[in-house]
């Protein structure tokens, strides 16, 4: 049996978060406006107009370049990519060909080939009638394109790269990068081969979630392998992904490689990035917030569990809550205790309230991290027990409030007063004569049951250790 090795390269586009479009001062806000309102003669491609480069868009791409440790271009320019389509009003797209803003770099152990800047096309809708409608609000929105080397070998690795890039773009404030909205779009180039040479490449589009990326790649790998097994040839083509059928389908056979007649755009100035002081690597590095991998390192150093680290990095609002709660606290045990409560109890409450899988959207706990820190202090000072803490947390989550006041109101303050414990122990013994008899015969688990009943009776406000000694002494 032959072994087939899949090779995958990704092309990822991301719409950049800027106020205005790439080459004009029309508003960059394609989702919240009436169709064809954020437009002007420049992004509508009227003759005689002159584009001007959006500095923020350039800065965004350069910051991504610095974050992935790519090489920032010394010289860079924009090119015209010529083709005819209704969504491209000028008859060409302004893109970058020979001199991209960034070359190289690495993310999630995947080498990056290049990152360049271009403009988005208009969006066309085919939902009504036998005609198409075009909305130019998206035409000219700054678009970043990142291309990886063809060195990914599994669907999961591809999915992980996409997720890590999305996290990076959001961390840098460079793009909202929502896959469902098309703010981030992934195309996968897949080939399968049983030799050292790469196989025939197939491009898959319409991937609007990371799950689709993984499923489509897995599907293609299987399809290619089956074709090669039966001695057939793979056709070079572009395929779409049908999410409901879970299949790819042929969209366009590759004719001779398209001639886009690239040439430098004569309307735009060349850029000497090295001569723009604020774009020096040093100055850009200063604008870097804490990057996802730096965050992972910081949390690992504190000694957090890998699962907790994953939560704080991928759901930044929960991570921010943790950071604020532990700010100024140096005792390791306290920090780990807080982390336990946040990752299990608080996240559990969020999931319960908003539904499983939505914790990423509505992640912010509705109370102040400092109030939560006070709750943990109450546990550590043995003023309340963990069972009571969970109840208090649930109340804080629903209605808010100070943990100590809630504890007082609900009788959850720990009672170490011997007489209170004795009273509860006596009640438990009276109400559970059968179990007591079993205990006396030597069944030790019966004791656990009695302690459990006592804890329940006291709503967790007595110390289980003290309760145990009192029960044992009463029964001996």
């Amino acid at each position: 049996m032959k072994t087939y090795r899949p090779t995958i390269g990704l092309e990822i586009h991301a719409e950049l978060a800027t106020q205005t479009k790439m080459f004009c001062d029309s508003k960059n806000d394609p989702f919240n406006a009436e169709p064809n309102t954020n437009v002007c003669p420049i992004c509508m491609g009227h003759p005689g107009t002159l584009p001007v480069i959006n500095k923020k868009a350039v800065e965004h791409v350069l910051r991504v370049g610095v974050a992935v440790e790519g090489k920032i271009a010394d010289f860079t320019e924009f090119d015209r990519k010529n083709y005819f389509y209704p969504d491209i009003p000028k008859g060409y797209q302004i893109s970058q060909y020979k001199y991209p803003l960034v070359r190289g770099g690495e993310l999630a152990d995947v080498k990056i080939t290049r990152i360049h800047l271009e403009e988005d096309t208009a969006s066309s809708g085919h939902d009504e009638g036998d005609y198409s409608l075009i909305d130019f609000n998206r035409a000219g929105v700054p678009l970043m394109e990142l291309v990886t080397e063809p060195i990914i070998h599994s669907p999961e690795q591809a999915g992980n790269f996409g997720r890590e890039l999305q996290l990076l773009l959001r961390t840098l404030g460079v793009s909202e990068a929502n896959m469902e909205k098309g703010e981030m779009r992934v195309e996968a180039n897949i080939s399968v081969s049983d030799t050292d040479k790469l196989g025939t490449k197939v491009e898959v589009k319409n991937l609007n979630s990371f799950k689709s990326v993984e499923k489509a790649i897995a599907y293609e790998i299987e399809r290619h392998t089956a074709l090669l097994e039966s001695g057939k040839k793979i056709e070079q083509e572009t395929r779409g992904w049908d999410d409901t059928k879970g299949k790819t389908f042929s969209q366009r056979k590759k004719e001779d490689s398209h001639d886009y007649r690239y040439f430098p755009d004569p309307d735009l100035p060349k850029m000497k990035i090295s001569e723009i002081a604020e774009f020096s690597r040093e100055n850009l590095a200063k604008t870097m917030p804490e990057l996802p991998w730096e965050k992972r390192k910081r949390y690992a150093k504190i000694g957090l569990k890998p699962t907790d680290i994953h939560i704080y990095v991928t759901i930044p609002e929960i991570g921010a809550f943790f950071d604020l709660a532990v700010a100024g606290i140096s005792k390791k045990e306290s920090i780990l205790l807080m982390s336990n409560y946040i990752s299990s109890d608080i996240l559990g409450l969020i999931k319960k309230k908003h539904g499983e899988g939505r914790e990423n959207e509505i992640a912010k706990p509705p109370f102040d991290p400092k109030e939560f820190a006070r709750l943990i202090a109450l546990i550590e000072n043995k003023i309340i027990f963990s069972r009571g803490a969970k109840d208090i947390l649930a109340i804080m989550f629903d209605r808010g409030g100070d943990p100590e006041i809630i504890a007082n109101k609900n009788g959850l303050i720990q009672k170490s007063d011997q007489s209170v414990v004795k009273k509860i122990a006596k009640e438990v013994i009276n109400e559970n004569q059968k179990v007591v008899a079993e205990y006396k015969k030597g069944k030790l688990t019966s004791l656990q049951f009695l302690i459990g009943q006592g804890m329940k009776k006291s709503k967790g406000s007595v110390n289980p250790e003290i309760l145990k000694t009192v029960i044992v002494s009463l029964l001996s």
Binding site: F23, K27, K55, G173
Partner: protein
């Protein structure tokens, strides 16, 4: 004589050409005003050494926690004014910030008790504390305090708070 004239002419043409090629004229983004209903901030006027700033007032826990994080920059004439619940040693960090700032701590008499210049995002998770308890904190675009030649004990005027 004629040669000298020609030389100057060529020189000028050359200089103009160089400037044309290498001085990239960027589009600086037009700022779209937030519709009044969407602006969660009260505004105040802050005057530092004669220069007037438009202050976004952060006077709730939620606004203070967010601060300027997530914004790509602020205008030269904009600052953020934090009104703290009481006069205390409140620390500030650069979590999720994208640009460098100057930080100014004031006591209840609007007198400068402490300041820190050019604090950049890559300083996170370092926390910056004032030298003395402060009731107000002002965050400005990095470099502003150097331009204004600010010192400890300078008085800042704050008016308004619509």
């Amino acid at each position: 004589m004629k040669k000298g004239f020609l030389f100057i002419f060529i020189f000028i043409v050359f200089v103009t050409l160089v400037v044309f090629i290498y001085q990239t004229n960027f589009q600086t983004e037009k700022k779209f005003e937030m519709p009044v209903a969407n602006d969660p901030y009260k505004h105040a006027e802050v005057t530092i050494n004669g220069k007037v700033f438009d202050a976004y007032v952060s006077d709730t826990e939620k606004l203070r926690e967010k601060g300027l994080s997530g914004l790509s920059s602020i205008e030269n004439n904009e600052v953020m004014l934090f009104v703290l619940p009481n006069s205390d040693m409140y620390g500030f960090w650069m979590k999720d910030m994208f640009f460098a700032i100057d930080i100014l701590w004031l006591d209840d008499n609007f007198e400068v008790v402490s300041f820190k210049k050019n604090v950049s995002p890559d300083t996170f998770p370092k926390i910056f504390f004032p030298k003395k308890p402060a009731k107000y904190v002002i965050e400005l675009k990095s470099g502003t305090l150097t331009k204004l030649v600010l010192k400890d004990h300078d008085k800042i005027s704050i008016t308004g708070g619509k």
